[in-house]
Symmetry: C2
Subunit: 156 residues, 2 copies
């Protein structure tokens, strides 16, 4: 139930990002029922290829919670975290990832994905992070449809 | 020959970071024989678990070169890029990685590494990035020895 609430926040935030010319990805970090960070992708805004929604949210949550240790936090991401973002979750010791669309969905709309699934990384890196995929996938997919129909869309 | 010059710059920068209480990692990004970024790890300074030397250097190089596309760039890292940093190199389209020590070396001195080698990521993600490992490994290892002997060292 709560998972849906936070994922919808991430979707709304991603939608706001799209309206500002950013890429269609959002992330929400929650600890003990409180939102610690709610961000969208800011690669173009910042001119920073690492400013994915999850990375931006981890930074923000670390700042808000005044610690680099985000144990006990769940991150809700509208798309499956790429290997950079999954590994950022590892370093931040995030406990759980809940995601909507898959890496291959983002690839289909033109992003230059590094195609390694979170489940693969978890297995070979022996990560203890909990993963729930395909959550509100249709609602998350709408972000890609809306973004794809815009004239100002920019891939990377 | 040039590889040694740039790796030594990365080592010197990491040394500077250690003296400022930061973690013992440095990175230098070079394009067409010019240094685009020279950074050390800033996780503690910024309170940001993603502020690894390579990520900080990619941000800086993107800013300096005014593009998120770092094609043609080589990154010299005193330690093998972790999966977050390797994937950040993918997104930034960095052409080549040259590194000193290995992920397991950083693990040995206490860092909570996500133990997946760059060569493994390259294989399963079908990356075209060029990798040269174990370069000036002894010189890079000295950073770990020096850091390990300090009272102010903080692992994460």
């Amino acid at each position: 139930m709560d998972d849906a609430v936070y994922m919808k926040k991430a979707i709304e935030k991603a939608m706001l990002g799209i309206k500002k010319g950013q890429s269609p990805f959002g992330a929400c970090i929650v600890k003990n029922g409180k939102v610690a960070a709610l961000e969208h992708n800011r690669v173009w805004e910042k001119g920073d290829p690492t400013a994915h929604a999850e990375v931006v949210a981890i930074k923000a949550a670390a700042k808000k919670l005044k610690t680099i240790d985000l144990s006990g936090c769940t991150i809700y991401s509208t798309c499956e975290p790429c290997p950079m973002c999954f590994s950022a979750c590892h370093w931040a010791r995030i406990s759980k990832i809940v995601y909507g669309t898959r890496i291959e969905d983002a690839k289909k709309i033109g992003f230059h994905e590094f195609p390694i699934h979170d489940s693969t990384l978890k297995d070979i890196g022996r990560s203890h992070i909990d993963i729930r995929g395909d959550f509100l996938r249709d609602e998350s997919m709408e972000l890609f449809d809306i973004w794809s129909s815009r004239r100002d869309k920019k891939k990377y």
